[in-house]
Symmetry: C2
Subunit: 410 residues, 2 copies
């Protein structure tokens, strides 16, 4: 089933009933970078979320699990600059930020979902929130500007704000879905320091939202790798206001498929943006594996390829060193045959077959160099031993990655 939905402006503020804002409240010392985002729904929303699988996880996640236990929420409060993880009193502080937000917005504190990103292990002060939350509440706007301000405020080392919105139809009603996201280091399996906030005005019960989200995450956000480090604070949240007026989406119906397809389109778009804007990245790498015996193998192989430091460095050097692709395929766990494997490198400049039946296929180094000069490189792997396929997204490994992470705290 192929769907392609109309893109619309406004990100998380495109669906009916959502306003957003971003302010600088002082968690970061850099005054030119906002560090607090607030997303508010006009009505209580059905909600769903997925979190990091790291055994070390941020204090806000503890609070989110409690606050979303009933399936509903009305606001999301996000700070950058401090992850509120492994820090003393973190959970109590996260609760206190919810109380402050609830007071400023006139809603229940149990309907506020907190999220944090930044340095791990440093105590966070409540002071910036005391002034910052009312300021953000004051600034809330149902507009593309509100969306952009929030998208900007959640950024850490991202180089630009990431957002998208699409329009689709459920039961004759026009619905919208919007999202903002931030990367860009510690990105690996299970959603690394990705924060993703998705809004929709489609109506769906919390359990249906969770089912849809949980079905999309493994094929999308879990297939990104920037550096192999699974963050402690990964969070994707989905709030549905229901203001589009459709009959609530039910699993097993064409409407459900449409909703999942919209969610997938939004997710894939953000995967490409997050990977392409990985720390220090100059290139987006998209690896498509086909001909795999099953989907888990296809996913694992594609992720091995875009996770290989050696291959990532070769892509930075625009070097068609396909042996490193084959090496990464070969060390992927699982029982599959590699003897029929072919590898193609592709970009807008063309396509070149570099490996056939797991061995060197003659190709023009000049042509390969022309293809690899582009910003988006697709690696097409056909394992030739089945029908399953999957994609994964990554980026090249560059001097700037080392620079950014060599002294992140100062």
């Amino acid at each position: 089933m192929e769907h392609s939905f109309t893109r619309v402006e406004g990100g998380i503020c495109a669906p009916l009933g959502f306003s957003a804002a971003g302010v600088h409240c002082g968690i970061r010392h850099n005054h030119t970078k906002p560090d607090l985002a607030l997303i508010k729904a006009d009505v209580r929303c059905a909600g769903a979320a997925c979190y990091t699988t790291n055994k070390v996880y941020g204090a806000p996640i503890t609070v989110d699990r409690e606050h979303l236990a009933d399936g509903y929420a009305q606001a999301i409060l996000v700070n950058s600059g401090n992850a509120n993880t492994c820090a003393p009193g973190g959970v109590e502080l996260a609760r206190e930020t919810c109380r402050l937000a609830a007071r400023a917005l006139g809603i229940d504190e149990k309907d506020v979902l907190p999220a944090s990103t930044g340095v791990i292990g440093q105590a966070m002060s409540i002071a910036p929130f005391v002034a910052g939350i009312p300021a953000a509440a004051e600034k809330l706007a149902h507009s593309p500007e509100g969306n952009l301000n929030a998208a900007f405020a959640i950024m850490t080392t991202d180089t630009y704000p990431k957002h998208i919105a699409v329009e689709f139809t459920l039961g004759g009603k026009t619905c919208r879905m919007g999202a903002i996201a931030k990367g860009s280091g510690m990105i690996h399996p299970n959603m690394a320091t990705m924060l993703l906030f998705i809004t929709t005005d489609a109506a769906a019960r919390p359990d249906v939202l969770q089912q849809a989200l949980s079905s999309v995450v493994p094929a999308t956000f879990n297939q990104i790798s920037v550096d192999g480090d699974t963050s402690t604070n990964d969070t994707v949240m989905l709030l549905a206001s229901g203001l589009a007026g459709n009959d609530p989406v039910q699993p097993g119906t064409p409407d459900y498929d449409t909703f999942v397809a919209a969610l997938t389109q939004v997710a894939e778009h953000l995967c490409r943006e997050l990977a392409g804007d990985g720390e220090g990245a100059t290139k987006l790498l998209e690896c498509t594996v086909s001909g795999a015996p099953d989907v888990p193998t296809a996913r694992a192989v594609s992720k091995s390829v875009i996770h290989s430091s050696l291959f990532k460095a070769a892509m930075f050097g625009e070097d068609a060193n396909w042996g490193r692709v084959l090496c990464a395929i070969g060390y992927t766990p699982g029982d599959f045959s590699i003897e029929h494997t072919s590898v193609r490198l592709q970009s807008v400049a063309g396509e070149v077959l570099v490996c056939e039946n797991a061995a060197h296929h003659p190709f023009s180094e000049e042509e390969a160099a022309r293809i690899l000069k582009e910003k988006e490189i697709r690696i097409l792997v056909d394992l030739g031993c089945g029908d399953a396929s999957a994609k994964a997204w990554g980026c090249d490994l560059t001097y700037d990655y080392v620079k950014i992470n060599g002294d992140y705290r100062t």
Copy 2:
């Protein structure tokens, strides 16, 4: 059981009955770097080996498995510059090099073990071997010089030749064990492009040698990571000439324990050398995990830490960003508790406790900076939930790693 054996000179030529040589035969274009090593035993040796677990593996490994099937061998032939992997006709070429070596040495071709390291996927020519093998055979020397020439010839991006020899006693007889090794990229689990050749004049049956080697590899060579890429050509070989005249080593005896301890000392020394000379490395990282519920968990956690790109980059920047250590511990698969985890950073300049009970422990940034200025950094993790421990070795992530791997083929 703590053993410490006397170090002696001569590497693989220290044990009785081994000669070695290294020459430039033309596989590499750079004439100042030898590219062919030959190791010969005066007598047929009991042999054992472990190979990469990559599903894509070098042609020489196919031949090694055949030639070592009977448990005996007399020579090892190693080339650098081309991995003879995913290259057409590779297995036949590897066999042909064995025939050439057998002819030059006057031994059976089935007693020659080939090994290759270098670029994957490029066809290798027999021509350099035709002239190179007799030249190497001519140069064979039972001397420290022969050892050094061989150690130098197997290097790829290593910055210096790696070798060691120790002396120990079995049943009243003085025995020696020597080894040479090369790294230094594609080093991760399961012995990445490590080539290690170990000789000993101790007597032991092939099955006992294999048992000893297989017991030491998981705790040593498999605990190194430079970049997370498991090579296609990893090989460790152990040849025992028996010329020391001891009664053959039997499992379950004090002599066996002594032999395994000597092998472990040799292996740990080379682990430190290989990791510290990882591509682009400026620092050796050694992570010791104690207080783990079991050995597999201790091994996995220590390897997670020294494998984290973020932590490796922080070490390059001499930044005590312990949150990244905790993050890496947390994403290690397995069912263990992190709440009692403590982390210390240690070097010859001192030791600092940076994390206690999985949370920030106040420390002097100045003191930490002084500790992290050193070339060898130890990360001491205590999980506080058991008695098992393990070590892993890695290196920092630097600009030079990116540079070396951005354009390796040219």
